[in-house]
């Protein structure tokens, strides 16, 4: 229907507008092609400066760099050369395609040419590391205006050439591109964590890595068994403490409390789910840790920073999650179930434990799993109360969890040590994936059960 209208409206005025858009796109992309011969990037090695155009970047052998006493040629990465050339070629191809009335293909070519500066940026990073080996610490690489022009011009040309096909088409393409960007970036993280984590595991050996009992970066011992066990112990402890209290609180809110009271408590618990984890950690540091230190039976056995402190703070942090999910699923249980049970002579309490809770089972389980996920992934609150020494977990001893293991050493790690931290990330990721996928399946099954 709308197609017919469009073709009817496709008057001379529209055609003129389209010609303007086309002309602008061609002019902009001619600029992109021309800027290939303008200064593109600036490389400063200590006291020698190279001002390099795209053409030079693609054809030159490399930079002669003078280090302390010796000099060497730093080669330009192949990817950078290829990216610069293809940026120019794609812009030129866009012009040709546009002239031959293939605006969609032209837009793709323009978009690709707009991406190339980013590729140059990424690939020239290796120049920086190569020169660092020559003992020159002062290296800076600047991107100049043509660099940004190619980037922005490519995107602008792509938009203009799709626009010649009408606003509907343009909007749909923008939505499509943005969803590709967001889904791509989120999926890329998954791929990246696997790619960055596996080399260290291969080098250290899977068994050695997962079951090694010692973590000592200086000595080259990378065993994360203490970290895994501490994470598992911390999470299990938090769940053991948090789940019963959380479920009973949810029962209170959904079943036994007076509505006015529930209306007061419910938003408070929602609010608490949003409190930054650093604030919880700070509270733990100020209140829980000193309390454990001065608790009479524990005195002289602990410094306060301990697995117990981590468990307590995690239990508090998972409470709001468990309470709100459980409350929602209890409220979803049909009132008729309760009425039937009461009519059979069961007391209200029996009704809660024999009817309501079993009926809301899958929702409650989903809440528990969500809580487990939050406890495993928590970093900052734990780092402030757990002591962060990679010991085997004991209730009153200092521990280091998977998350805190990464956070503690990331700022100064390098080489195999850093790769090992990525491998910890991979292990953590796998833990979380197992938890989350089971959560998704269980909550879906719950929905299906309700639908019946």
């Amino acid at each position: 229907m709308s197609m017919v209208f469009n073709s009817m409206k496709n008057t001379r005025k529209d055609r003129k507008k389209n010609r303007v858009k086309k002309g602008m796109a061609v002019a902009l992309s001619l600029g992109s092609v021309f800027s290939f011969f303008l200064p593109y990037m600036q490389f400063v090695f200590k006291d020698t400066t190279y001002l390099v155009s795209g053409f030079q970047l693609a054809t030159a052998k490399g930079f002669r760099v003078h280090g302390s006493g010796l000099s060497a040629v730093v080669t330009i990465p192949v990817l950078a050369r290829a990216a610069v050339i293809s940026g120019m070629l794609f812009a030129a191809a866009g012009i040709i395609l546009l002239i031959f009335r293939k605006p969609v293909f032209a837009a793709i070519a323009y978009a690709l040419s707009g991406i190339t500066p980013l590729l140059v940026l990424i690939s020239t990073t290796s120049i920086q590391t190569a020169v660092t080996q020559l003992n020159i610490s002062k290296v800076s690489i600047y991107c100049l205006w043509p660099f940004l022009y190619v980037l922005a011009g490519g995107i602008a040309c792509a938009v203009l050439s799709v626009w010649t096909q009408g606003a509907e088409k343009l909007a749909e393409s923008i939505f499509l591109v943005f969803s590709c960007v967001s889904i791509g970036s989120v999926a890329f993280i998954t791929v990246y964590i696997f790619a960055a984590g596996s080399p260290a595991i291969a080098q250290i050996g899977l068994g050695q890595f997962l079951f090694g009992r010692e973590w000592n970066a200086e000595a080259g011992a990378f065993g994360i068994l203490p970290l895994i066990l501490s994470s598992v112990a911390g999470t299990a402890g938090a769940v053991l403490l948090g789940v019963p209290v959380g479920i009973l609180t949810a029962v209170f809110l959904a079943e036994t409390a007076k509505p006015q009271l529930a209306r007061l408590v419910h938003p408070a618990i929602e609010l608490l789910a949003g409190i930054p984890s650093v604030v919880y950690g700070f509270f733990g540091m100020q209140v829980i840790v000193p309390a454990i230190r001065s608790f009479p039976p524990f005195q002289n056995h602990t410094i306060g920073d301990s697995l117990l402190a981590a468990i307590l703070i995690l239990a508090i942090m998972v409470l709001p999650t468990i309470v709100s999910v459980t409350e929602t699923s209890l409220k979803a249980v049909p009132q008729a179930y309760r009425e039937a049970s009461l009519a059979l002579g069961a007391t209200p309490v029996i009704t809660i434990f024999k009817v309501s809770i079993p009926a809301a089972r899958s929702g409650i389980l989903a809440g528990v799993i969500l809580g487990v996920g939050r406890a495993i992934g928590e970093t900052m609150a734990v780092i402030m109360v757990a002591g962060n020494v990679a010991n085997m977990p004991t209730l009153l001893g200092t521990v280091r969890l998977l998350t805190t293991g990464i956070a503690m050493e990331m700022s100064y790690a390098s080489g195999l040590h850093r790769q090992a931290l990525f491998a910890i990330g991979l292990v953590l990721f796998l833990f979380i994936m197992i938890v989350n996928i089971s959560f998704t399946f269980i909550s879906r099954r719950g929905v299906r059960m309700d639908a019946r």
């Binding site: 990073t125 969803s179 959380g246 949003g274 309490v349 990331m410």
Partner: protein, 290 residues
């Protein structure tokens, strides 16, 4: 009510015990959570003053113990992150609900975003540090922090916006289409305005998450506490947010004075989160009313 039975009261001690347990658990939850709030606010609010909010911070200078740079950095990170992630996230939700063919592919994407929304933020920090700070050569800067946070909040924004868009009745869309409106007009003029409170709730939830985030920003936006030197220069400079300031001052504090700064920062954070929560509540109420 059961006690009023004709045949007299049948006592069940187990009932009373369970009832007691339920009340005790609820009381415990409320006490612990209210205790945390009160503890932070009572200890922190006395030190929150206009001077505290409006002066710079320095580790050595005793007269400069404010949180102005951290407030500015937090605003930068919230603002830029939303500028990046809100258009992308909302467009994604629009595409998935309005344009894409509802088949296996969309289901797979929905599954992925659902599963990935639970990734711990420390992993995002690890990713952001190596990709944005090192590979893209942004160093530790606010921009690197913003890019990292954009990816962190994307799944949340997509999911919440999708829910809001799906809640718009199909009849509205069909009505608009029947009047001859094109797809774009239906989406922008009909569906999006109807779902606006839900979309705003998604954005505000994301804001709350960004304000409270610390692990993903620790390595990406850094810990510098200098006053911003220029509007654009600050984007490429390192800067700590309120949460990181609290973390850092609490860890390094040796004197009671330093502890006061940490308490006051925590109180400011709580108030911020509370305000955002209220606003989100108002919007979602507006959505429910229609």
């Amino acid at each position: 009510m059961l006690g009023n039975s004709l045949y007299g009261k049948r006592k069940r001690p187990a009932d009373a015990a369970l009832k007691f347990l339920i009340n005790a658990a609820a009381a415990l939850t409320v006490t612990v959570l209210a205790g945390i709030l009160l503890y932070i606010l009572v200890n922190g609010l006395p030190y929150v003053s206009w001077t505290f909010l409006s002066t710079a911070y320095s580790e050595t200078d005793e007269s400069l113990k404010g949180i102005l740079p951290m407030l500015i950095n937090t605003m930068y990170i919230v603002g830029i992150t939303l500028l990046i992630s809100a258009p992308i996230g909302i467009s994604t939700a629009i595409y998935l609900t309005q344009y894409a063919k509802q088949g296996r592919f969309v289901k797979a994407i929905r599954f992925t975003t659902e599963v990935l929304s639970g990734i711990p933020s420390i992993l995002f920090g690890l990713f952001g540090y190596t990709v944005f700070c090192i590979l893209f050569r942004l160093q530790t800067s606010i921009l690197a922090g913003c890019l990292t946070m954009s990816i962190t909040v994307l799944p949340t924004i997509i999911r919440t916006t999708e829910e809001a868009l799906l809640s718009v009745p199909d009849a509205y869309k069909e009505g608009a289409m029947a009047l001859g409106a094109g797809k774009l007009r239906v989406v922008m003029g009909m569906v999006l305005p109807c779902a606006l409170p839900g979309v705003l709730t998604a954005v505000i939830l994301a804001m709350g998450r960004i304000v409270g985030e610390s692990a993903a920003l620790l390595f990406t936006s850094g810990l510098s506490y200098n006053m911003p030197r220029g509007f654009f220069r600050q984007i490429f400079a390192s800067g700590r947010t309120l949460t990181l300031h609290l973390y850092q001052t609490a860890r390094e504090a040796s004197s009671p004075d330093a502890m006061h700064i940490a308490f006051a920062t925590a109180a400011v954070l709580l108030i911020l989160v509370f305000l955002l929560n209220r606003i989100a509540e108002l919007f979602s109420r507006a959505l429910r009313k229609g």
